[in-house]
Each structure stands twice: as structure tokens, then as C-alpha cells.
Amino acid sequence: MIADITNKDELEKIVEKIYKENGKIDILVNNAGITIGEPSESYKEEDWEKTYNVNLKAPFTLSQLVAKYMIKQRSGVIINIISLGAEQGFSNNPAYVAFKGGLKQLTKALAKDWAKYNIQVNNLGPGFIKTDMTKKSWNDLSLRAERSGRIMLDRWRESADLVGPAIFLASDASGYITGQDLYVDGGWLAKGI
């Protein structure tokens, strides 16, 4: 379904339609995100707001809309896709880092508020991967070397590496896990010298 997730009316219609078609909604993955890189000292206000709208506001709005039904059915799983930027400072992208950090905390707030309705809310954090979003740092050899040096496992992540952990968090296998961060980062965050 084509939708602009920053448009609440559109989201409302979509969620209602999905509920009507199925009589339930079990899983929401807030994955959509954007990144607009600019130096902090000259970061444009409109880009800050654009990043906020997609990366933090939309996941909250969509979670609220879906929770309406999850609360009714007394079950549900919400997975928020965060980032290494939720933990660490990265150059020239203050909005991305700030709102991924915000999303990480939003997960804990929602996990707390909706646990009584048997809704689990967890974070899934991808490490560095070759996607359109990170193509620039992959193509630049010095940026690539800088990133590879931070990873324990000897390769960059592929999209497929996220699938098992996502299924785990979405399935009954993780029924007692909520408010957690699961990083699929090849050891990036845990690596010392």
C-alpha cells in the first residue's frame, strides 16, 4: 500500500482497512526512515523537521493507531527499527542521531504503558549494511575502512541478517521480551580495542 506515513489521515484509513480485512493486527514494524546529512552548525530547520516527522513522529502515530486494536484484542507486537545512532554520535547528522535516540526511548515508554494490554514493544537495531542509505560510505574506501574496523565479524551486514531476529521478535518465541534493544551489528557496539 502506498502511503505517506507523515499523513495521519492516510495512516488512519490504512490501519482501519487492514483491521477490517483481518479482524486483527498482530505485528507492526516501524522501519521507514530517512537520513539527511548536513553539518550541525548549518543544519536546516526544515530538514530537522522532516527527519522528525518520518523517524519519530510517524512511528508514534502509527503505534497509537495500531494499539487501538491491539488493546482491544489484548495482544500485539511493535518493533521499532533504531540505529547505532541511537547509542553513539555520528558526524553531520544531528537530526538522525537525535530522533533515533528518541525512538529508542519511545519504545521503553510504550512498553511500559501497554504491557498491561499484553503488547510488547522492542527495538531492533541494524548495524552497518549496504543499502541505498549507506551506499555513500560503502563506496568511499576510507569511510568503508573506518566502519569495517568497528565491526567484530569480518563483513558488513546484509539485509537478510535482520530477518531472523525480526521474526524472533515478532513471534511467540519472544513472548516475555519487552522494552529491549536487539542490535544486529556484527559486534559493533560491544567492541573494545
Binding site: M1, A3, P59, L162, S171
Partner: protein, 64 residues
């Protein structure tokens, strides 16, 4: 251990929504959920890419 332990990881009969599902991480997750048995709604603002992904999804569904 019971062979049915793998059922714990099944998404059969579950209904899932994935945003940003036209490509990359979102697409991989959405297709993974499909393979695990869920009904998956692919949401994206990128209409053209989404159409391509969903067309391929039908092929993927036939292969399951």
C-alpha cells in the same frame, strides 16, 4: 526437544504491517514475515519501488 518447538517461531495466521517495505531492510523483514506464514502489508511512499516489490511478492508467495 519437541520438534514442534519451531512452531514458536512461526508467524502463521498473524497479520503484520511493515513500513518502508519497498526496499532494503523493510523489504527483507516483510518478505521474511511472509515466508514465516504471516499476512503482510507492505507500506511505502515510494510507489514505483513498492509496486515492483509487491509484484515479486506474488512470485514469492507462489514459491512457498
Amino acid at each position: 526437544m519437541d520438534a514442534n518447538i519451531l512452531k514458536l517461531f512461526s508467524l502463521k495466521d498473524k497479520v503484520a504491517i511493515v513500513t518502508g517495505a519497498a526496499k532494503g531492510n523493510g523489504r527483507a523483514i516483510a518478505e521474511g514475515f511472509l515466508r514465516a506464514g504471516a499476512a503482510v502489508y507492505f507500506i511505502d511512499i515510494l510507489g514505483k519501488e513498492l509496486k515492483k516489490t509487491v509484484d515479486q511478492r506474488e512470485i514469492l508467495m507462489q514459491n512457498i
